[in-house]
């Protein structure tokens, strides 16, 4: 019953700490996590998702070039034949921007959910559970909240 998520940092962004924490959180929540690491191209995301039959693709971006890096991302997924829930999160704009604008921009690009960098990992886990219509397995709860 465990579901696979593909995780990575897009573009030439090397901020790795966030996805390291996310990997651990999704693992602890019972997902199978394929962590592609930093500086992952659109194609690498698509191929990994295809190969592992991933339910979700989680894109991280911190360095401020997310918008450029994600142009055509969903077209690439589609072209590869991937139909997964897509999330993006991190620090998505250069400078001191308003997050609601940012969210709109990325939803328009096709992401199912957009997270800011204040996101708690539990929040993201809960959202994905909901989107994939999973229920929290009783036994895992203490692991997550501890």
């Amino acid at each position: 019953m465990s579901q696979t998520v593909v995780l990575g940092v897009i573009g030439s962004d090397a901020h790795v700490v966030g996805i390291t924490i996310l990997e651990q959180a999704f693992n602890a929540a019972g997902f199978d996590v394929i962590n592609l690491g930093v500086q992952t191209s659109q194609e690498e995301f698509a191929e990994a998702a295809l190969e592992h039959d991933a339910e979700a693709v989680l894109v991280s971006s911190l360095y401020g070039h997310a918008e450029q890096d994600c142009q055509g991302f969903h077209e690439t997924l589609e072209a590869t034949g991937v139909d997964a829930t897509t999330y993006i999160g991190g620090n998505l704009a250069v400078g001191q921007d308003d997050f609601e604008e940012t969210r709109a921009t990325f939803e328009e690009l096709g992401f199912d959910r957009v997270f800011d960098s204040e996101t708690d990992t539990e929040e993201a886990v809960a959202a994905l559970r909901q989107d994939l219509q999973l229920r929290t397995p009783e036994t895992e709860r203490p692991t997550i909240s501890s």
Binding site: H15, Q24, Q39, V94, S146
Partner: protein, 477 residues
Amino acid sequence: MIRDERIPSEELQRIDEQIRSNWSTGEAVDFEDAIEYHESLPERKRFADVLESADSPLLQPRAGVPQLDDQVELLEYLHSEGKADLLPTTIDSYTRDNEYGKAQEGLEKARETGEDTLNGFPAVNHGVEGCRELIDAIDAPIEVRHGTPDARLLAAITFAGGFQSFEGGPISYNIPYTKRHGLEETIEKWQFVDRLAGAYTERGVRINREPFGPLTGTLVPPSIAIAIMLVEGKLAATQGVRSVTLGYGQVGNIVQDVAALNALKKLGNEYLPDEVVVTTVFHEWMGGFPPDEARANGVISLGGMTASIAQPDKVITKSPQEFQGVPTKEANSAGLRTTRQVIDMAIEQQIDIDGIEEEQDLIERETRCLMDTIFDHGDGDVVQGTIKAFDSGALDVPFAPSDSAAGAVLPARDDDGRVRIFEWADLEMDDDIKEIHKARLTQRADTEGRDQSFRMVADDVDAISDGKLIGRPQGGV
């Protein structure tokens, strides 16, 4: 096989010509003309001299915008309103990837739309003339700060453009900044950068080189950072660099930070050749910041406090907007002035804290273990030793995104908030030192009534942004 040897001058010339052909602006670089330009610069723009002769820590922010005029304005503002002593020019990400074409597009789009479509100043695209306009306009020394694995063209152009300080190094701008560049490759490329700086130095233009001490910015144990600084300092010295600024990023425990800066200075002078002038730079907290400017000011001030005690030669300041994104110039200046106020109020006070010598001693012993293993791995050659030690995991950096480092070592704070090593993986270290770390971490685990685990590491990663130093479990378990 690449070794720690000076690049012969013919080879220097050959590479120089080759890399200058990588982008149109490379042509304009002329060494003799560059020397002349540097000689024409007034004393107050000579980076190494200003830094080395200062009698209290100099402050420097980070800042870079795509357009020249904007960069001039930004730096003038940071100089006059922020009272920065030294100025930066932070380079954009495309340039760091050697994607000068994309940087050009971004620059042109910036010129058309007035928006900052790049996250830094594309110095290669601005070329020698553009750089000199910047140097001419600003009445203080300016350093190039970037994060570029292959910074050869950037160095050629910015040195000729009048910059006298250049951040980075083959490990420190590889391991934290890129996934796929091999260490052998970046060492070779940085040997050229250092050799070029050395060529200027020989002609009396001392280009200051600054290895990037904070590495991944996230709970890096001091001895790992220091060992890498020593290696990069040695490599630079071999190529003829004579002004080296070794870096260190604040971990937030005052005793450990002061001890680390002391150790860095001491070991720097010990491991580097006598003819090199060694200075130190302290980076205010480089990990995740609180999502609140008021609390960020507290983090910044703790950095200022530490700097006032350790008295490094330079402090790289953070802004209260660090969490959010690239700071406004006002926020950047605010970070400078907050730091200045704390340092100036504290620096004349005699503040001798117990336990600094002991911690310094531990850091030095750890660093020596790492340096010894590097020399051993390379049979005395530091280049080969570094490559092989990273390969075997005997040398490692926590949270390293690079394929060149195992990234298997994991840090965690002890009960006093000092960064210790929780997972050693293959990191080389004497057993008695490992025992010390273990005892400290056990003490913390006992205090918290929980086992040591990755959860503890993750809590520590978030702790400062959550308002604490140590990631204690919240509420019940």
